[in-house]
């Protein structure tokens, strides 16, 4: 009605304005969709964040990084206690974005309880760590306002000078050259994020195993850096302002002394503001963690540890908070179905992880008996376990005419050229890490890292020969062939042997 009373001039103007807005809206809409197609294949993070929005009502929202993803199983809690929970978490998340995680989760869901695992506050620094922000920001639609706020807040409180800032906001600038994504149906499926589901509710296990020793606890209060203070304050301020029901925790891990001290200080600050903080590193025994079996690397439990942790945390939550039990509610059918799928998966995870753990423990047993073996044949069979690194050093010409079959196969396997004076070899079962028949010096890290670093190993042949592992030199000058066997998981030397060829056909194992 109003339109027909307007002059043609104004009608034209109005038409142009509407056309302009419509055009820009279409372009933006298409841009949001196209961005999804090209985004990197960090499928775990994307499924996590995108999957959250299609879960229905979540009672407990947990926010963190992989310190949550590998630890807590929401479906187990559902099965045992009946409340719905979800890990709104992305790998490498940092504590200064946790506020935005909660904020984003609240756009579709108001939870009864929020649980923030602040272990990553110890990693917070001034650098712009791309993974920390991109795992999250590349998993949200361009139209999300929280995403914009989160990126700005992250970038501009850190050293953003050398960053390509536009590519954080419009990540298609970074990913548009992933032309292979156009061929991938999975990438296209994200153009409709409503169909994205995350059956495991944000849990994915670590199936590695590294044996550790229990860390030593400390009551010392460390000092927080400026950035760390800022991150904690930001989170606490938000929780206070929004009057949220929040529990702060820290997952159990192989905590170094400095980090434990920082967590102590954080705990104090959190408690001052009236919130509860539980550092699960103080509850190793209560959780029942076995440091020899339950960890995958320095920062994460493996699936066996996750089972124990989930049991403890879910008990704690249901005892200390009023959480509903939906198990009889038919509108939560999907959770039942998902649990069935999850149950099958986790049996397999348990099996696989146990297998790895058992393998490493068996290797350890082998290692215990290795020292007492006199027979070259059985000893040679045992050292080929792929949990061991075999370090071989030959430092002189040897008289040998290929008469011992087992020694022949030893020489052939490790590629030792008996016509040459020197030999250095580092082997992991059939895999050659390094080998040479020349006079050389080699530096190599050995063992399984898992966050502990590799053990440095320096071997030199010829003048100034040495065989250093760690800080100690194990070189034996009088050996024909010296072999050191090293357990990769336990980071221990389990045997140090001189192979002596006697009468051109017998092989003796000489130990100091």
């Amino acid at each position: 009605m109003v339109y027909s009373y307007m002059s043609t001039d104004r009608k034209e103007k109005l038409k142009k304005i509407i056309a302009c807005i419509l055009f820009i809206s279409i372009v933006f809409f298409l841009l949001c969709k196209v961005t999804w197609i090209f985004r990197g294949n960090k499928s775990e993070a994307r499924e996590d964040i995108a999957g959250f929005k299609s879960q229905g009502k979540i009672d407990v929202v947990l926010c963190a990084g992989s310190n949550l993803l590998r630890y807590y199983q929401p479906l187990e809690a559902w099965n045992q206690k009946g409340y719905t929970s979800y890990n709104y978490a992305t790998s490498s998340a940092r504590a200064d974005l946790l506020k935005e995680y909660i904020e984003d989760s609240r756009t579709t869901n108001e939870a009864l309880l929020y649980v923030c695992d602040i272990r990553t506050i110890t990693d917070v620094n001034k650098e712009v760590e791309e993974a920390s922000v991109r795992n999250w920001s590349d998993s949200l639609s361009l139209s999300s306002v929280t995403r914009l706020k989160g990126i700005s807040s992250f970038l501009f409180t850190r050293d953003y000078k050398d960053c390509d800032i536009p590519s954080f906001y419009l990540d298609i600038i970074k990913y548009h050259s992933n032309y292979d994504s156009l061929k991938d149906a999975y990438q296209w499926s994200y153009t409709n994020t409503k169909n994205i589901d995350n059956i495991d509710k944000g849990f994915s296990p670590n199936q590695n195993h590294i044996p550790f020793e229990e860390p030593i606890s400390t009551n010392v209060r460390g000092e927080l850096s400026e950035q760390q203070e800022y991150a904690l304050d930001k989170l606490l301020n938000y929780c206070e302002k929004e009057k949220l029901n929040v529990l702060f925790i820290c997952c159990p891990y192989i905590a170094p002394k400095e980090e434990w001290e920082i967590l102590n200080t954080c705990g104090d600050k959190i408690k001052e503001r009236g919130y509860t903080f539980i550092n699960f590193n103080e509850y190793y025994d209560e959780i029942g963690l076995d440091f020899e079996r339950d960890f995958g690397d320095v920062n994460h439990v493996n699936y066996l540890g996750a089972e124990k942790y989930t049991a403890y945390l879910m008990n704690y939550l249901s005892e200390n908070y009023e959480l509903p039990d939906h198990r009889e509610d038919t509108s939560y059918r999907k959770w039942e179905e998902d649990y069935a799928v999850f149950d099958a998966s986790r049996r397999q995870w348990r099996l696989d992880t146990t297998e790895v753990v058992e393998e490493h423990l068996n290797a350890k047993k082998t290692a215990e008996t290795l020292r007492s073996l006199e027979n070259f044949d059985s000893w040679y069979q045992q050292i080929q376990d792929n949990n061991f690194t075999v370090i071989i050093k030959k430092n002189g010409y040897l008289e040998y005419s290929n008469t011992n079959d087992i020694l022949n196969s030893f020489i052939e396997k490790y590629e030792i050229d008996m016509t040459q004076k020197y030999y250095i070899g580092l082997w992991n079962s059939d895999e050659c890490i390094f080998s040479t028949n020349d006079e050389e010096s080699v530096e190599q890290g050995i063992g399984v890292d898992g966050g502990r670093g590799l053990t440095p190993c320096i071997i030199t042949s010829g003048e100034g020969s040495m065989l250093c592992i760690g800080d100690t030199d194990y070189y034996h000058q009088d050996a024909d062939i010296q072999v050191i066997v090293y357990d990769n998981n336990y980071k221990q030397i389990i045997d140090d042997v001189n192979i002596q060829i006697v009468d051109d056909k017998e092989v003796h194992l000489i130990r100091a």
Partner: protein, 512 residues
């Protein structure tokens, strides 16, 4: 901030918003401010003093010329001094190639003479070749009373440093840029057309030109692996790469200016349609050709020396030859200046000598050629003959561009050497065996290049026929129009070679 960067787009949006909000009387001041900002982020900031210096000289000179015109003072001297001053500054800062070659020549001829070259390592101003030409044109225009001098020095400075022009021109006349000082009303059409033109320019540069550049640079980087047909392919692809790069940038510039309601002169008019080299230079880098014609060729031909040579030739030669001699000399000066403007000795060879030579030969043997065509009964009106002429013109341009593309005179000679050597071992089968993939492009890229060339051809033809391809677009139905622009936008977004994975490639014509 290069003209293809995200920041530049933001710069235009904010700049245009301010521009149309402020009172119309001060819009030119906004343009001046924007030019300062642009200069600060695109170039070494202090070098703006060279622009200020040129402006000051031009200002004082033209005011003096007007004041003393009717008095007995020799204003020609004033004008000449100012022009020479500008040329000298240009030589000092941009004439490195001439200096080094000249010094080498002198040092070879007189071995005892030594020059200290360190004094010449000064940073040149941004867009020096372009604005110096504009300033010289302005001084001459005032001297010849074509334009009235600008009384406001700041307005004159805007003429010199107007930000879109500093990257690759075009070289405008003062009369063409007087619209800088007028009042500008907001026009939806300007914004639309300007944005469309910028998008088209981005397509040419980022999608087509930079993609072809991968091929040409890979071939010239390794002429041993890519021998035979490949150097020839590189030579014949290069004009398209150059055209996409240069005209793409010019499109972005003209589109930007259009958003601010400034009409800059066109620099290209479907150049590959040309049937002769004369026609080519009326369709390629039009503003440089016009500048050289109006400010070099005309004055030279009207000068006493050439008129007397003309008279002398009439006495001693036939009419035709008599006319050609002053023309040849005039052309020689024009082409020498064009070559020098490009700033290096190899451009004098590849631009000046080459085209001057071709044109002179063409004129001298023109009638012979015409007779041959008639004698052989070639249908000179047919499309196929016209096509042949276009191919011939393209080939001449390609041959000259070898100097243009090379990094130095020596490199250009090496390229010619390679080209002639490779005639002996042509290997056309490598066109079909996938060698093109080893150059660093995929078949998809090749398809895009072909599509790009096709679109370029279509649009340029449309532009010539309809005056403006965008006008033709306006006449189409909404769905087609919007579909075309949205498709082009996503083509550039997805297939453009930009972003953190690529080094922002400079424009080939930037830096003159």
């Amino acid at each position: 901030m290069t003209v293809t960067s995200f920041y530049f787009l933001v710069f235009i949006v904010i700049g245009a918003a301010i521009y149309y909000i402020v009172p119309k009387k001060v819009q030119w001041l906004i343009l001046l401010g924007l030019s300062f900002v642009f200069y600060y982020f695109s170039a070494v900031p202090y070098t703006i003093i060279y622009l200020l210096l040129s402006t000051l000289i031009a200002y004082i000179t033209t005011i003096a010329i007007e004041k003393y015109r009717d008095k007995r003072t020799n204003i020609a001297v004033i004008a000449c001094t100012a022009i020479i001053f500008n040329i000298v500054i240009w030589f000092l800062l941009k004439g490195n190639s001439f200096w080094s070659h000249g010094v080498l020549l002198i040092e070879k001829t007189f071995p005892s003479v030594h020059f200290n070259m360190s004094v010449l390592h000064l940073t040149a101003a941004f867009g020096m070749g372009y604005y110096t030409a504009q300033v010289i044109g302005y001084i001459l225009d005032c001297y010849w009373e074509i334009s009235k001098p600008q009384k406001n020095p700041f307005k004159l400075f805007l003429f010199v440093c107007f930000f879109p022009q500093l990257t690759v021109g075009p070289i405008s006349k003062y009369s063409q840029l007087e619209c800088l000082y007028r009042e500008h009303r907001f026009s939806y059409k300007n914004i639309c057309f300007g944005s469309q033109r910028i998008l088209w320019g981005m397509f040419k540069k980022l999608v087509v030109s930079d993609r072809i550049a991968i091929i040409t640079t890979a071939i010239w980087a390794d002429t041993i692996s890519y021998s035979g047909v490949w150097p020839w392919i590189a030579v014949f692809l290069y004009p398209i790469q150059l055209y996409g790069d240069f005209s793409g940038c010019v499109d972005i510039i003209l589109g930007t200016a259009e958003i601010f309601d400034i009409k800059l002169p066109e620099n290209f008019n479907n150049p590959f349609k040309s049937c002769s080299v004369q026609e080519f230079w009326q369709r390629w880098h039009i503003t440089l050709g016009t500048w050289a014609k109006d400010y070099v060729y005309y004055p030279v031909l009207k000068s006493k020396y050439l008129i007397s040579i003309g008279k002398w030739s009439k006495k001693h030669f036939t009419k035709r030859i008599a006319k050609l001699i002053p023309w040849t000399l005039g052309m020689g000066v024009l082409w020498l200046v064009m070559g020098i403007w490009h700033g290096s000795v190899r451009h004098i060879a590849g631009v000046s000598l080459w085209y001057w030579g071709i044109l002179v030969l063409g004129e001298f043997f023109g009638s012979v050629f015409k007779n041959m065509v008639e004698y052989l009964n070639i249908k000179s009106e047919s499309y196929s003959w016209v096509l042949l002429q276009r191919i011939r013109t393209y080939a001449i341009f390609s041959a000259g561009s070898v100097f243009f593309a090379a990094e130095s005179f020596r490199d250009a000679l090496f390229r010619y050497q390679t080209l002639f050597a490779s005639i002996k071992n042509l290997n056309p089968w490598t066109l079909f065996d996938g060698t093109v993939i080893r150059l660093g492009v995929t078949w998809g890229d090749v398809n895009i290049i072909i599509l790009g060339i096709f679109l370029l051809h279509k649009i340029d033809t449309l532009r010539e026929k309809e005056g403006m391809a965008r006008e033709w677009m306006q006449k189409q139905i909404v769905v087609f129009r919007w579909g075309a622009w949205i498709s082009l936008f996503f083509l550039v977004l997805i297939y453009g070679l930009y972003g953190p994975g690529y080094e922002a490639s400079q424009f080939i014509y930037q830096g003159f």
